[in-house]
Symmetry: C2
Subunit: 557 residues, 2 copies
């Protein structure tokens, strides 16, 4: 083993933390992900900065909280100028490449304002959140009366499918994400009742194996230059459907029971109620929906795990396992009907907590292999970790990147927890819930602050807080936000949140070292302040303004 | 009178609010500024967002709090991508021009990263905080062993002076900002003891009259196209020195007594003490310094006022008084030894409160001419005001601009105060005080939150708050921050600050209207969520995914 030279940064979309066997799923076996955990550190309290794909990813890719970068919901563009993982790693001589999904929405207006052409090298990176693109596949090619959600979605993948004989204008939909009946009718997995059909595609042509091969092709294409590869899978994200043999692998006997209670629904905080009352909340509260979707979701995860087996074996064979840090994580989870909610949203662990496994080949990490870290970590901690792999010092980027390096944990040298608390955010201004709750677009925001013992959710707009006791109620079924016995805890959680909101997050144009240097720079450039006469200033400054001769006003001597 | 078509946005640098006769100075008569107040509205509680030139101006020019734009001290560059007054007004068809000072430091690193050339139209605007430049004169040309503080400072002005026969390499220093003795020795006003000498320059060639003429030249150059002209004077900012006749106009009998007490010095809060102990604090606590500087400072203001007379007469003659909104304000004040401090810094009214007079030629403003507005307003309120003059609706920019339009006040239609509280900020990470106080670069920040009744200063780094009772102690001599009788007030002020720090400030790439539109957009682009079967989705969506035919997997029918 040697020091990590490269980084393979694997992300699954919507992979719930507790659907891996190493995280405790009793029926879904993920031996390959578990194998990575046995080789590295499994983080048991990893939180994402937002439970919405785009926002969570923008935080991971910039290393900054959502309140700092502002891309607070899907399709709210990341503003031009935000520094990214790509900017930081390339500055250290490490390439930073995308294979798969980012959910990045380019700030086209900002780019036009600044004259940045989308087809220039700089423009392409700005538009892709700092990555160089080996292949972008945001994993979706939906079609609607107003056009496509993502015009560039799954283009190369569709070409691949057509080259393999899938004859359709949109084989992504008609084959990879639909079933078929005996009459040849496409049964779209946009309709959840079709989720338990086998996808109408050969397994090896479905999205996850395809993307694994693209990842290996990227790695193969690289020479000696160090690289960070963001291998970013769309699955197990919806449309929920998987080909055989995975389609038939799991049934109700394998499901986790939905974590919910009648009481939590009956007494729900108004904001939580709005999420329960949303279309996805109502849908996933239904047994028929869960029964149709869960076998597909679990099958998709099993397929992901098998593909990790393919990938890890290949890395072993090619020697890359010796010099490559491997990170496996997700952008958020999936409620699957827990708490009467569906999809990813809100802040229960089903959604905000993610699997995170980090394998570091360095000998320094030998002591921690196979261990589980119970400390709070955040997805924004990845960027500083990667920066250290690229031989950077985190002080150089700490004025921009808001996370902390995981390296002390990986090397067993951490002498204090990384974080006293973690933060996650949700902006529902662009959803119908804002209207239903009667809050303005500026107030439709939620903040989660969590310690190892407590999780509080603050909603702007005049609502009381929501509070869960993670020690005595790990299922987060009892909201103590209105409990008079918990005002001290609530005050403490608000103190954490307040401290966090006061942070310096936008002073990104001067580093710590530069600020310290500025303490004396003005004087050395001739600015004298509070100096009454020459004797009070250092001679080297004073002398500049001394002994000069001038004519009297306009030339009279 | 007609609706304002143009905006003349006049800023003086370091002009203390209470040094105008209309604001109550008993000895310094400013009849021309007073005349503008008689024609418009004089705001009596106007606060700047920072008491440091550059940061205050970046807030005014972007319409955003310092915590939002991040340029939190002089020479911390405003990051590329920040939207400015120029961007907003040009989008409405109004030019936005600079004549004078901005204290803008371009984000050269960010510009290079994004490939923005400084000599392109876009690059020049980005580098100049969104202004098109008629003449930039940051008003300083100091010289030090490490070069000049501002390489481009006073270039055109120095050329002008040389063309008028001032023979010197740096006539800005040797003539405009120095005295002279009988032997022809230059007596630099960098040394405060020289401040009470007459500047070695003909009055009409000194900076203030020069800049007035440049402002008139700009206005003359404009055709019918609406313009906003930022006529931005360096004076009465240091170096403190003024030519005759102003140099001899004021003496100790005309001074305001220093507002300070032995008690406040003896019991000073550690952060306030650090400011008192700074070089400028110590200097301006000395009578010899005040006696040398105040006659110059007052003379400079008198000269500014006379120039306003020249300018306003010219505007009357040319008809511009009929179609031009005129704003007169400052970027911050000057302690002049009050509270044992010097310069601008910290948050006493001497520094954070500024004069603000707004003249609106519209008939709608007739009802408020000559009135005084006692409501809290902020310098970031100017941008939305200007945007309305340019016929924009503030909802269009409210996702970026954080202030509120003053128009309801100017037109007498305001039915509620604009602000419940105002905020000002100070970042001393780049000063030696941070080291002296033992706080890190991330913690060396201060927040002022003020209502009409109270002013609280919060210091990061574990200090208790500072509190002044503005009703019973308008001189801000008694710090109640440690008073057990004031914990409720302190809690209330902290609640204001907390509410403010939680604001949405970075979601600048989507407007209110766009966010509202997004509430239904995803579905109309083919995304179906929580839809079990076709009957649950609107027909126009469902139909896209229905009735398709496909072959079975790889071509088998």
């Amino acid at each position: 083993m040697a020091k990590a030279k490269n980084i393979l940064f694997i992300m699954f979309d919507q992979l719930r933390w507790d659907y891996l066997s190493c995280y405790g799923h009793p029926h879904l076996q993920t031996p390959n992900m578990d194998r990575l955990a046995a080789m590295g550190v499994r983080f048991d309290r990893a939180y994402v900065q937002s439970t919405i794909c785009g926002s969570s990813r923008m935080s991971t890719y910039t290393g900054r909280y959502v309140q700092s970068h502002g891309a607070s919901w899907n399709n709210i563009p990341l503003k031009v100028g935000e520094l990214t993982m790509g900017d930081h790693l390339r500055a250290r001589g490490m390439g930073c490449w995308l294979v798969g999904k980012t959910h990045m929405m380019a700030d086209a207006e900002g780019m036009a304002r600044l004259g940045i052409e989308a087809d220039s090298v700089i423009g392409a990176r700005v538009a892709e959140c700092g990555f160089d693109v080996f292949e972008r596949d945001d994993g979706m090619r939906p079609e609607g009366p107003d056009g496509m959600y993502d015009e560039g979605g799954a283009l190369a993948y569709n070409d691949y499918l057509r080259s393999k004989g899938y004859q359709s204008e949109n084989p992504w939909h008609d084959h990879a994400n639909s079933g078929i009946d005996e009459d040849g009718n496409v049964l779209s997995a946009w309709f959840l009742k079709n989720s338990n059909l086998p996808a109408n595609i050969a397994e090896e042509d479905s999205e996850t194996p395809y993307m694994t091969r693209r990842g290996m092709a990227f790695i193969e294409s690289q020479g000696d230059q160090p690289w960070c590869c963001h291998l970013s899978y769309i699955k197990p994200h919806w449309p929920y459907i998987v080909p055989e043999p995975y389609a038939s692998m799991y049934g109700p006997q394998d499901f986790l029971r939905p974590v919910r209670s009648e009481e939590e629904r009956a007494n729900a905080h108004p904001v939580m109620k709005a999420f329960m009352d949303s279309k996805v909340g109502q849908a996933f509260s239904r047994d028929d929906v869960r029964n149709a979707v869960l076998p597909a979701y679990m099958g998709l995860i099993k397929q992901c795990d098998d593909q990790m087996g393919v990938l890890f074996d290949w890395l072993e064979r090619t020697g890359r396992m010796q010099d490559t840090m491997i990170v496996l994580t997700a952008d958020h989870g999936d409620f699957m009907g827990d708490h009467w909610m569906g999809e990813k949203q809100f802040f229960h662990d089903a959604s905000a907590r993610v699997p995170l496994i980090v394998y570091d080949p360095s000998p320094e990490a030998d002591a921690t292999r196979g261990t589980v870290c119970d400390e709070l970590v955040q997805s924004i901690d990845l960027l500083p970790t990667f920066y250290e792999v690229a031989d950077g010092h985190i002080d150089e980027i700490a004025h921009v990147a808001e996370g902390k390096s995981l390296r002390p944990i990986l090397h067993g040298t951490a002498d204090a927890p990384l974080h006293d608390f973690v933060i996650s955010e949700y902006d529902y201004a662009a959803t119908p819930m804002a209207e239903r709750l009667g809050v303005s677009v500026r107030e439709a925001v939620l903040f989660m602050v969590a310690t190892k013992e407590w999780k509080m959710v603050h909603s702007e707009g005049g609502f009381r807080p929501i509070l869960f006791d993670l020690v005595n109620d790990p299922d987060e079924l009892v909201d103590l936000g209105g409990s008079p016995d918990h005002t001290d805890i609530i005050d403490e959680m608000y103190a954490h949140l307040f401290k966090w909101t006061r942070r310096v997050s936008q002073r990104t144009t001067r580093s710590k070292a530069q600020l310290e240097e500025m303490r004396t720079a003005a004087a050395r450039k001739g600015i004298l302040l509070g100096v009454y006469d020459e004797d009070e200033a250092p001679l080297e400054l004073t002398v500049r303004y001394r002994g000069r001769k001038a004519a009297d006003k306009r030339g009279e001597v």
